[in-house]
Subunit: 153 residues, 6 copies
């Protein structure tokens, strides 16, 4: 057993590690903590030059996996602003992809639950992590990128 | 032994995982890969309301640990823009901390080397990860944040 | 008679109140002050995911109602920058609607004249107010928004 | 009685009209609707070249008047982002005042409650309106400005 | 005589060439065209980590040299926005210098007059050019930069 | 012979003057210095409402004229960020053209080589200058604009 004596990860670290460790055998530990901590989460992929598709992919995955109640505008609003914040980290200065001739290939995670596993404060938070590549629309002409956003639900 | 059959991490993942896993027993594996891949790196901490201090702390640590040749402007320039990109992810929309009454407590990593451990392409890249908290200048009134930047050296 | 002892509104307040009070019986008073102060103004509506349509709708309405002389570039330029400023208030951080999967339904006012009804300073100013809703392209999943811009003509 | 047959104002309109109508006899009607709708609100003033003072003034007034529970980070977080959005409308492109040699004199309103007076959706929203002048630090060398932000609490 | 058969420069080109050609013998030709075209202009220098000093230096030079009537707010407003636009070109993404540990050494020109020497359209325009270096506060660790803004007066 | 006793221009000045002096007889001197200093350069034109076309036009011209090795991602990356910086100067606050109903007609120059003709520091820099007009999609309803970016290769 690997991380016996390590403290459990926070909501944000879980959201960050989930796409970062995809395909790595540590990911199982992250998923165990997500399940054990009562977190709701989703992991997906989206590749696009069109920013709108990125927003839509994350939103749709979060709704389909019941991370938010899609009939409550305030929950949709909370998720939306977390997504926008994550995109700002991906864009680094401007939220534009295709318009400035760059494309993204992103793995995304959305996690909802208490900020800390043993959190005493009431109420959920929702974190969005977008990790992948950004660059020219040509294989290998890209570098990695990560954007992270979080909001109270 | 944990991640036997996992592929080695890229430069960017190493830079991202280093501060995320601080204090966790997985960090040793990350450090082993950094050493084994011939990467130069540094891990440090800075807390501030003053953005200038964040830039200076990362720059100083990278120079002192010989990640860049501080006598070559082009190396300083490469690092500088990577830091600014990382700060954009932390700021999410505006690079301001104290001016808008928020403070940051950040662990930072800077990693220099080939983009991939077995990279065939010549030339180094430098990645900067800032991970920590942002919020009101009051303990517990903050959430996590992560910014990532990368540049060719 | 309602606001007997109140000072007349400034150009900016008139532009702000016109869309805010649409359908309210106070609007008549606002329109009386607009007419009495020699102001030229227009009130219109535009709903779009496409930012370009918002700019075009306001510009077209202002030209058609002779708020600016559309044969003089400097007048067109003055209006244009006032519109852009107003859109920045609507966008709050980024001037994007459809690209980030949000739609707007806006009532807009453009008012031209002296900054204050009894203004002694020569020369006109032009103010643009955009008021309405912004949100997901789904009825009720939106909140209100207001952007305001002003320029010398 | 003036606006007998007008529909009651939304939370956002109340927040917008409160500083816009300061000193005008319509303001009493706005305050009656605020009280009658069970809204919590505050109206204050701040003049500064220093952005931090604007954030602090609004935050302090909202806490002192119990619009938010200052012991709950999620409530503080909700207010904070609403303030930042409002400042973006004031800054129109950049959240800077003194740094670019401009000063603001603002009347601000913060309103908390349901989005609409007869709102059926559960949960509160908090709206921030900043209205006043921006310009050179010289009397009369300024124009009006308005910024508006809103968030779910 | 050099540029016999070249068309005279526009207002914008004159503003751009003036600091670019400082110390070069072509500058005399530029100054002759400025004088011959009835343009009012000023050329100055400012070095700073503090953005406010840059704005102030350009504003002060323009007022002292009577490019604008400093008693008319609309003229001050026109100049102000032209300066801000020029600074955006210098900052490339953010209007910050010292906050992000960079310093500027700028030569600036402000030119007022018709957009084109034989301009038929009534009314003046004012153009601001900032040219110089930006970089670390260490000699030689900087690169060149140019920002340009223009507005109707 | 005109500028006998003037110091040769820097890489950045050459990039700036090349489009500014197009059609002027001084341009020959600029081209002589470019050739004499061992610089690689290209001069082109692009008119568009679509930002992507501007990025593509500059990138394509630089590749076709062998300013960068298009098989090396780090060279493509260096050029890309220089282009983006130049566009920020053109956009002054937002990198949008058609979306906000403005069109650009740009002459662009890309220059690669040492920062200074007698530069002792090893390694090339690449500078991008975009000069032309921006405005409404109607002849004469536009003003001049210049954006400049530079990066280490
Ligand atoms: Mg936050
Ligand atoms: Mg990059
Ligand atoms: Mg203004
Ligand atoms: Mg919102
Ligand atoms: Mg303009
Ligand atoms: Mg640079």
């Amino acid at each position: 057993m690997a991380n016996q004596n390590a403290a459990p990860f926070s909501l944000s670290k879980l959201a960050l590690l989930l796409p970062l460790l995809q395909g790595h055998d540590w990911q199982k530990t992250v998923e165990e903590q997500l399940a054990g901590g009562g977190y709701r989460y989703t992991l997906g992929r989206v590749g696009a030059m069109d920013l709108m598709k990125v927003v839509a992919a994350v939103e749709t995955a979060a709704k389909r996996n019941r991370l938010i109640d899609e009939e409550q505008y305030r929950e949709v609003h909370a998720l939306y602003h977390a997504i926008i914040e994550a995109i700002q980290g991906v864009g680094r200065g401007t939220m534009q992809f295709g318009e400035i001739l760059r494309t993204v290939g992103l793995t995304f995670a959305v996690v909802r639950g208490p900020m800390f596993p043993q959190g005493a404060e009431p109420g959920d938070w929702i974190a969005v992590c977008l990790y992948g590549t950004i660059g020219a629309p040509r294989k290998g002409f890209e570098h990695e990128v990560l954007g992270f956003g979080i909001n109270h639900v």
